[in-house]
Subunit: 478 residues, 2 copies
């Protein structure tokens, strides 16, 4: 099935294996933690590292400054975004690839078995341990490995590539949306499709493509009454307690089985088609996987497809906590004067944050009114993110399916994620192009945990996948 | 109405006024904060101060050591209890007086208008500001002032006095219950009745006697499921969330109007008699007092007697908070794996902690079972304290009523408190004698707040009240 050029590319990657691991080791050794001001210089160092790699390969690369931010009480420069163009042949398709070069914090004392910023090769398991190995330095280097291997093997890269590599993904992608909007008709002009390699297989054995993400709306429900905290001995039974009201309202949002009780919210969910239902049935997944991940037998449904759909295609509502109440250990007998309950809804098509905010606000206010309390309610919503769903029949996905079959010999699962990757939506909305999430790592890589790893096979085969995907894109265009 | 001897005593107190204020200033200047290890030496200093005062007056006084405790990570000596006998005439009644010489922490930077450990006389308002002025150094010195004035005026004190003054009241009275039990037939032998001056008038103008306290039982309701906190994007809708279950159960404990929903709890409340109901009708109190104290219009009932009974003679249930949930500012989207809801019930006769624990446990487990959740529930109860109710027709109360009428020209309100003063119950149970709570200060003294104060009139007239109460006790015996 593979063309001679594809075969040459694949052989080159296999031949490069030790060098590709060395490159990842170099990248992991730069502790580019974006969430800690004292590590900020390493984010710049990492940007320079990537800039050099790209320039070395002949790309037109530049650092785009994003201005300043206040972090840990000091005003500091944001890490730049690395922009690069590799090729500008008008007869080729142009693929925009996104990745991030910043990482989550990591200290050996967090419980790591090895030094987090040293890539450690475990010969027995074939795994590479280190912060950023899978999230997202491995995938970012994957693209560079692809370009390099083509040059080494004397093959033309069959598409034009645009790189957008950011250094603030783990810290809210500050400034990125604005940059993308500003560069829409400049740097991003001519993009035909987008590919992001920054998520994971559903399990540990079968590759997947991801074409959907849930959105989110976060609510802060504040109930206030007394001007100050009160002694429950003196005032218990005498006054309307904000905590009592808060529990009354928040207990009416969702059932223990996860059913959202807010009228209108479930009605906005797009109906399930037979075609979609069949995708869940074939996915590489079992309820035991949920039990393994949660360390418990608390999965609501014992049916695999139902559990998958709960995560991927239905909304959910979670209660996170209460600000202003007594949250410490011990036995304080306070009546808190003002409490803010936090909860969020994960949204799916055709829900929008605007519609959900309206429904939730109306419902919460109505439920509070039923209480007959003399306290006061206020509900606010924050950081709404729309759900995202891409057309999986687009050539961008068809190319990835074919490439996966070539590399892994299997048709990938077509998954959706329960969480959010906000930049996906930004690209889809701003550029109005199809976006593909093409993961390199596995579900057990521990992206934000201790002992983050990437299997060597995922790094090497994943690099082949990225390259062959570009070939299939080109083949489709031809 | 007053006897010549009573009149001489009253005149002597009036003559001593400047000296009595000086004595209080001396006591306030000793920062005997029991809750902070670095202040512990001042608790000893304060015990020595009282020991000297009592010995100077001819009392047989001693310091009773209580052993060690661990505080702020260090093992330190507990402040001693001051025991003293003044008089041992077998023909006189013996009154045990209790007070405490430790105070709440106080720093000027907490928001005090004056230095907290300097007694400041505000000439305009006639108030004495300083930590401990009303809680409880003023009342403790009141008893000493009484003995001294009798000696100065050449009058016999008509009763025997026993002093039990502790230095750990603000920090859980560590060791006191055991000492009282151990000394029951030794130091405490021969006590006829107990008088504690460590609470406050219901309002700011009318004196009261207090004959009841609510008890308390504190509950920790833990719901656990996943082995670790989960990401709501990945697991929201997929697993049973402990927070959802906790809100479901805790919302079924009490209504916004304060009605306890646990079957059997309200049925244990002693019925209201006409005599008792009339006491609430005449009390110096308005719903506006609640509104003033809470800084809000959140009082459940606008009927004065109903509001008073809610505080004094009915149980209440307050929800305090959740341990293990997200309690900070911001918008974390966590699914907490294990959460512990905290709530407590204030108990009244004939409720007992044992009976309440049984009812609450049964109800909570039944309500949780109804949820059909795969999570796990566990309920634990802590520091149960029985409610206390003394017979207000006892001679101990009759003496205090008469003395109040002499000093203030008014029949005192007969109140109950909504909170707890655990030593009251200890004396009542251990010594099996009538206990009277005879407050000196006003409701607005700010006992545990910034700018604690006692009105000079309360300190001086209150000292007279303590002395005349002893005379009325003796008159009853005669």
């Amino acid at each position: 099935m593979a063309t001679p050029e594809q075969k040459k590319f694949v052989s080159q990657i296999d031949a490069n294996k030790p060098a590709l691991i060395d490159r990842l080791a170099k990248a992991v050794s730069i502790p580019s933690v974006s969430g800690d001001a004292s590590y900020r210089k390493h984010c710049f160092e990492m940007a320079d590292f990537l800039l050099d790699e790209l320039k070395r390969l002949g790309a037109t690369a530049q650092l785009k400054p994003l201005g300043k931010q206040v972090l840990d009480g000091q005003e500091i420069e944001l890490p730049p975004v690395v922009f690069a163009d590799y090729g500008n042949d008008p007869n080729k398709k142009t693929i925009l690839v996104y990745g991030h070069f910043d990482v989550q914090p990591a200290l050996k004392s967090d419980g790591w078995d090895t030094e987090p910023f040293t890539l450690v090769h475990d010969e027995k398991t074939g795994r590479l341990y280190g912060r950023g190995s899978t999230d997202d330095k491995g995938p970012v280097l994957g693209w560079i490995n692809v370009v390099e291997a083509h040059q080494q093997a004397g093959i033309n890269l069959p598409v034009n590539l645009k790189f957008c590599l950011e250094g603030m993904e783990e810290s809210g992608s500050v400034g990125l949306d604005e940059l993308i909007a500003a560069e829409k008709d400049a740097f991003f002009r001519g993009v035909d499709a987008v590919c992001i390699s920054d998520n994971y297989w559903l399990g540990t054995t079968k590759p997947c493509l991801t074409h959907g993400l849930r959105g989110i709306t976060y609510f802060k429900l504040t109930i206030s009454g007394p001007a100050r905290d009160l002694h429950s001995g003196v005032f218990g039974g005498v006054v309307h307690e904000p905590m009592t009201d808060l529990f009354a309202v928040m207990s009416k949002l969702v059932t223990p089985e996860g059913k959202i009780l807010i009228p209108g919210v479930n009605e906005l969910v797009a109906p399930l088609t037979d075609e979609e239902k069949q995708r869940y049935d074939v996915m590489d997944f079992t309820v035991a996987d949920v039990e393994g991940a949660t360390g418990s037998k608390t999965t609501i449904s014992t049916d695999k497809a139902t559990a998958l759909m709960a995560r991927m295609r239905y909304p959910s509502l979670s209660l996170h906590g209460i600000e202003g109440a007594f949250g410490e250990a011990g036995t304080k007998t306070v009546i808190p004067a003002k409490v803010t309950g936090k909860f969020s809804l994960r949204l799916v098509p055709d829900q929008t944050p605007e519609a959900i905010v309206e429904l939730v606000t109306k419902y919460v206010e109505a439920e509070f009114a039923k209480l007959g309390s003399k306290n006061t309610v206020h509900i606010a919503s924050e950081h709404g993110g729309k759900p995202w769903l891409a057309d999986p029949n687009h050539w961008n996905y068809e190319a990835a399916v074919k490439a996966t079959q070539t590399v892994y010999g299997v048709k990938p699962d077509l998954t959706r994620e329960g969480g959010s990757i906000p930049v996906t939506l930004t690209f889809a909305d701003t550029l109005q192009k199809n976006v593909l999430l093409l993961p390199m790592g596995r579900s057990d890589d521990g992206a934000h945990s201790i002992n983050e790893k990437i299997d060597i096979s995922n790094y090497i085969e994943g690099t082949k996948l990225l390259g062959l995907y570009l070939h299939e894109v080109a083949a489709h265009a031809a």
